[in-house]
Symmetry: C2
Subunit: 372 residues, 2 copies
């Protein structure tokens, strides 16, 4: 019998687990919401991840349950655990990737470096925080945000009033003065083994990850050590299993502050599929099945990943292959099999090599063939 | 619409096309003989590849047809071509991978280096060849042999008599005095582009590929150039498309002689999945869809692939993962999802690095966990 992993959610993260699973002889089953999702190349069940009966029936056919997204309600997760299902990461860890207010509270209690933040319930709370933080701040909905959604810059309490209408508390944070953004990814098994990839630099555009450079330039030494300590502390203290992504700000005065957490393979780890000995999707599968982790060293001096977003013109990525593949024979192309709606993540490319300028050029040039 | 490749045959070669296809956003459909084959992770149709109606119906749903094995009858292949199907490689090329007598005749006519050989129809023919070649020779059935099957060493015509009972001519070849075996793999598109991987050394055990070292030690220069010329000439002259594997003997007096041809991804190319910028399965898909080929350089100074054969003990590869993956965290494991019957190819492992002794050690050590 092949070990079987059930993935809740049918997006590109579930899809990219499949090649790694095939190589290792692991079966992937996906619980997706609709047909035609990115991961429907795997054995797919259609159903609502908010319905405990649906999720329980799905989970009983697999050895471990993991996630393509972080939206499965705690009540459903707890019902799985009570039924004896191996849920990786478990609800007690996933909680802190689901709710940014709880995450900030927990990380602050652990003494980990985070931006100044506050829980705000009223427009007056927002104004009070703004008065103490230079008149501008970042307002976030605690739940459901991603890729820049659920995040807004505010300069008065009035800017927040519509979001308070839902009746929930919001998270407000100082506008961090940062020189760049970084990400530290780590994988951890239920039995405790942990493996860190090198820290990477991430370049965001419109709140969405656009490019990743691995390893982050000028990160060797103190910076990498601090990031590794932060990610290790979070993974071990919160009991995270599978891949944990810790998004970080490097401040203009060279501190590291924790921005966001994700407890699943993450866009900032896609480079590792081609650029590390063990890619994040293979490692995630090993981790959630409590199998020994693979080596995480870089295969190239530099790897650069560039996201491909759907552009204004019609057509699929494959329509551009005759030009793109010919122009960049060393670049690895990843096509998520999605309709390329404008702004939607539909693929990524990764280049590797010894000269960073050249690697960046090749990755950007390859991605540019798909941009419009 | 995703480009779609139809693969005839459901073994591990079809299976290993799937991860590459997922990355490129290519759909794979497989025509398999029975359920539960290695490639049934892809969309699978069950049917007999010898039945033209079955194969035509399968082929009409795909953009190109290619192969997991070389056993599809010429009449079926020609019916596909007549129906306008893109068959890669086409019947006129595949013929020479299907019939070793025709292959020897054609390569000899091209002036390419082959062992001394003859077409034999009778026991007396065998005795005559033996008299001219030191009393021992290799007898082969022209069709259907693989992994040492259909090959026998003979020292008298009587040794051949049972194979003549089928009424077909046989191929007899001199027993080549060789220092080692090599393989040169190349991929070629219908429109002519061609890309060679580095020449590799192959170590056979009981007629089955056991290990591959890439690149072949001490091969740079003349040896690599001659092998590249041979493979290029064969691919271009025979009009091969997709991956072509040319198995070679390096004779004790340092000539290269062509042993066998395969027109599909080949066991001697498995190292390239992890060890080359573009692996053979990705390249095969690009080639059969007439897409630009990827770069074929080595990602590591040395790559060593070791086959995993089913052993005498029960259990699957995955049962040994807790020991094997822990012991060899840098090795890439490939599990074909097959029942591990003794002697059956059920997986392979690949190690890479700078020190060949160390790379060989790690690959062998990883494979050893599955051997019994």
């Amino acid at each position: 019998m092949s070990p079987t992993v059930g993935v809740i959610g049918g997006g590109q993260l579930a899809r990219m687990m499949v090649p790694a699973a095939i190589n290792l002889g692991i079966e992937i089953r996906v619980l997706a919401e609709t047909t035609g999702e990115s991961a429907d190349i795997a054995v797919t069940t259609l159903g609502d991840y908010r319905d405990p009966a649906v999720v329980l029936a799905f989970a009983k056919e697999v050895d471990a349950v993991t996630f393509d997204h972080e939206h499965v309600p705690q009540a459903v997760l707890k019902a799985l655990v009570e039924a004896g299902v191996s849920v990786q990461p478990g609800p007690d860890a996933l909680l802190y990737a689901q709710d940014k207010l709880l995450m900030r509270e927990r990380l602050s209690a652990l003494g980990l470096p985070v931006p100044d933040w506050a829980r705000v319930s009223t427009v007056a709370d927002v104004d009070a925080f703004l008065a103490d933080h230079g008149g501008r701040a970042v307002l976030k909905t605690p739940r459901g945000g991603y890729d820049g959604k659920g995040v807004r810059i505010v300069s008065s309490g009035a800017d927040a009033s519509d979001w308070f209408e839902a009746g929930d508390d919001l998270l407000i944070e100082e506008l961090v003065s940062f020189s760049r953004e970084l990400a530290q990814l780590v994988a951890r098994r239920p039995s405790g083994e942990l493996a860190l990839w090198p820290i990477v630099e991430t370049i965001q555009r419109d709140g969405v990850c656009a490019e990743v450079i691995a390893p982050a330039p000028d990160s060797a030494g103190k910076l990498a050590d601090v990031a590794a300590d932060i990610a290790t502390t979070i993974a071990e203290t919160l009991g995270v299993t599978g891949v944990l992504a810790v998004e970080l700000f490097q401040t203009t005065d060279d501190r590291l502050l924790i921005n966001e957490l994700a407890m699943r393979p993450h866009n900032t780890g896609h480079w590792s599929m081609d650029g590390a000995t063990t890619g994040q999707f293979e490692q995630h599968l090993r981790a959630v099945l409590d199998l020994p982790l693979g080596a995480t060293g870089c295969r190239d001096e530099w790897s650069v990943m560039v996201n491909v977003l759907g552009g204004p013109l019609a057509g699929t990525l494959a329509d551009r292959y005759s030009l793109a593949l010919a122009a960049q024979p060393t670049v690895k192309f990843h096509n998520y099999g999605k309709d390329p709606r404008p702004g939607r993540k539909v693929g990524h490319v990764t280049a590797g090599g010894e000269d960073l300028d050249d690697v960046v050029y090749r990755a950007r040039a390859a991605a540019a063939f798909f941009e419009n």
